[in-house]
């Protein structure tokens, strides 16, 4: 045990004083949060260039109502009410007279205008849109005369289409109401949407018996499960990646053989793993403290998931033991740090796969897929912590069942990794194949 401590202390002190660790501590959150940062930058400096949309109205009745609805939305949303700063582009809808002859000729001409950037897009309202009953759910083929077609050259997520959806449907409803003889002055009231507010569930205080009121869910609260999962993944990946290369580098520098006269391969490996775990814990505490300060400064400290803190650290340590043991084993079987990079996916896989499957898990966290996935030991730490943090949480037995699996998995991986490490560190000049590593793990 004392030798494990000595190896861990050396590795920990060497790493914590190194520039890569300190830089990584700052850079990693920026990398992992780059999507949020980009969104924030986009929000701070939005694209407010004017967007002109042609409106080809085959009903002959809807265009003016749609244009009026769009103008209302522009005036309602375009500017920040407090600062007066423009937040969204001005959407300008212009009616285009329906040309006689082949409709495709006119569509082609409008398409050419979009390509020349004279227009952003054009809308074609089908002739029978105002009269047609809504199509049954799941209908794939809606006749052109009863639908609205949106033509544009925009790729990816087209926010203009989303923006137009509201005023377009508003306009169509207004046109229908106008045909029924409703006073246009009542349109706004009749068509006013109701705001849907996301609220937490009510609960009863087990001590006092009082009913705890529901509270409005904020965006931060909804983001917490995602943030917890990303934080765990980030901490693991930050340590496991460098670990792989560092072991391969130490092997290339031939530092292990002399150490093995004084310490067993298992002690050496566990010392390295312990150092990595300690480094990660330091990083995690740093981020938690930073998160608490950030929440406090926005008066949102109550949103911090304190109840999940022990689980976070238990899963973090277990995941680190698995990933670092694997990293050390694979690194020891490589001839050089370059070779180690090629095999990094083996080590990173269990951490990356849950990130790729984030959406289906978040959409149905109580579903069979998410439940089974969170009980598979390699994925339990990341997936279970996220499910636990989501509103509704998980049944009480699941985290414990997951933890049991994780502990068994950790013991098995560490044991196999130690066997691979013992042989791998003495093999020079060639990188072992996966089949060889497997043989070393089985036969020792």
């Amino acid at each position: 045990m004392y030798r494990i401590f000595l190896v861990a202390r050396r590795d920990f002190l060497a790493a914590i004083r190194s520039k890569p660790f300190l830089i990584g501590l700052v850079v990693a959150p920026l990398l992992f949060g780059s999507g949020f940062i980009a969104l924030a930058v986009n929000k701070a400096k939005p694209d407010i260039a004017e967007r002109r949309i042609a409106l080809l109205d085959r009903t002959g009745l809807a265009a003016s109502q749609v244009i009026a609805a769009a103008a209302e939305k522009n005036s309602r949303q375009m500017f920040d009410k407090l600062t007066g700063r423009q937040l969204t582009p001005r959407y300008i809808l212009d009616t285009v007279p329906v040309a006689a002859g082949d409709p495709d000729v006119q569509r082609l001409a409008l398409s050419a205008r979009v390509r020349r950037h004279e227009l952003f897009a054009f809308l074609e309202i089908g002739r029978d849109v105002l009269d047609a009953p809504p199509p049954p759910a799941g209908t794939e083929k809606i006749p052109p005369s009863t639908r609205v077609d949106y033509y544009s050259n925009a790729g990816g997520i087209d926010e203009t289409r989303d923006w137009l959806s509201g005023p377009l449907n508003d306009g169509l409803r207004r046109a229908r109401l106008a045909r029924l003889g409703v006073d246009p002055a009542r349109f706004t009231t009749l068509l006013a949407p109701a705001s849907v507010q996301s609220m937490s569930l009510l609960s009863r205080d087990p001590r006092t018996g009082e009913i705890r009121a529901a509270h409005k869910r904020s965006e931060v609260e909804i983001a917490i499960p995602f943030i917890l999962m990303m934080m765990l993944a980030m901490m693991v990946l930050m340590s496991a990646g460098p670990m792989l290369g560092a072991v391969a580098d130490d092997k290339q520098q031939r530092v292990f053989e002399m150490l093995l006269a004084s310490t067993s391969p298992f002690e050496l490996m566990m010392g390295k793993v312990a150092a990595a775990v300690a480094l990660t814990l330091v990083g995690s505490v740093f981020y938690w403290v930073a998160a608490v300060f950030a929440l406090q400064s926005f008066a949102m400290l109550g949103l911090a998931p304190w109840g999940l803190l022990p689980w976070f650290f238990i899963y973090l340590v277990a995941d680190m033991l698995v990933v670092c043991s694997l990293g050390i084993a694979v690194g020891s079987a490589c001839a050089s740090p370059n070779d180690a990079q090629h095999l990094a996916m083996i080590v990173m896989g269990p951490t990356l796969i849950p990130l790729l499957l984030l959406m289906p898990i978040m959409q149905a966290p109580q579903g069979a897929f998410a439940t089974v996935f969170s009980l598979l030991p390699p994925f339990t730490p990341l997936v279970m912590i996220m499910r636990q943090a989501l509103p509704g949480g998980v049944p009480a037995w699941q985290p414990w069942a997951g933890l049991t699996g994780v502990l068994v998995w950790t013991a098995a991986v560490t044991w196999a990794a130690a066997r691979i490490f013992r042989i791998g560190i003495l093999v020079q000049g060639k990188t072992a194949k996966l089949s060889e590593m497997l043989q070393w793990a089985i036969r020792g």
Binding site: L6, R10, Q253, R254, M258, L259, A261, S262
Partner: protein, 319 residues
Amino acid sequence: MDAIQLRNVTKTFGGAAAVDDVSLSVPEGAVYGFIGPNGSGKTTTMRMIVNIIYPDRGAISVFGDPPSVRSGIGYLPEERGLYRRMAVRPLLEFHAELRGGRRITAEINSWLERLDLAHCATHRLETLSKGMSQKVQFIAAVVPQPRLLILDEPLTGLDPVSADSIRSAILDLRRRGTTVILSTHDMHAAERMCDSIFMIFRGRKVLDGSLESIQRQFGDDTIRVDAEDGAAVLAALPHVEKVRDHGRIQEVRIARHADPQEVLQALAARTRVSSFAIVKPSLEDIFVRIAGPEAADPLASQSSAAAASAQAAAGARHV
């Protein structure tokens, strides 16, 4: 008590025997030379003694117990490697604490002074020359003073002054009770420093005993000659099997049972002879006889060699 005992130890890699049924006893307090060509099994044998790899068959004991990290073995591997970004003193303290379980600053300071490294105690390894790094690694192997010290090519790459200081340090350690295994390709160093020699060839033990007994085993068939046109003339003489030309002098191996007087007479008849001496074969000569390209297969002729060995002085074993 023997410091090391190997009993019928075998280690194979991928079906090939790196060490094949080797038995060996190293008495406590001795300097035991391990010699053999590259790839003969020296390093594998030493790694098994240090417990880095395990034998497939046979048994090893160090001071009567199976080898373990608690055996307190100082080990300097042939492949040099230390943490390059560590400073010298913390690195030595780390190695010392790892093996000895305690900090031993005074002993480390003394070694740094002795090997002229005190001025770079705070320098990182990566800033030191190769020779200096090698001396640091030697110190890492000997602090705290081990009962058993295994040195794989400790003198390779060192300048004569540094090599001499390491040689003297090894002998000092022996005087203070440390048993030393010294693997080397420097046959002169082995002759001068080692109490006994163990030679391994193609995984099998081929020599084991004191230098004198080994030399006796190989007989008085070596003549050292200083003569005009020595090499050319000597090669043509009857009974001469091999001539090693060292420039001014030549070393001649004559046929077993040949009379050196006959060789001298034949030589004197052909050229002027300044000196002619019957000498014991050098370790280098013995090494070449066993492992050189012109050598008869020592493993194939084990039985005849063993018979010769039996007639040699006690303690010498040419297996």
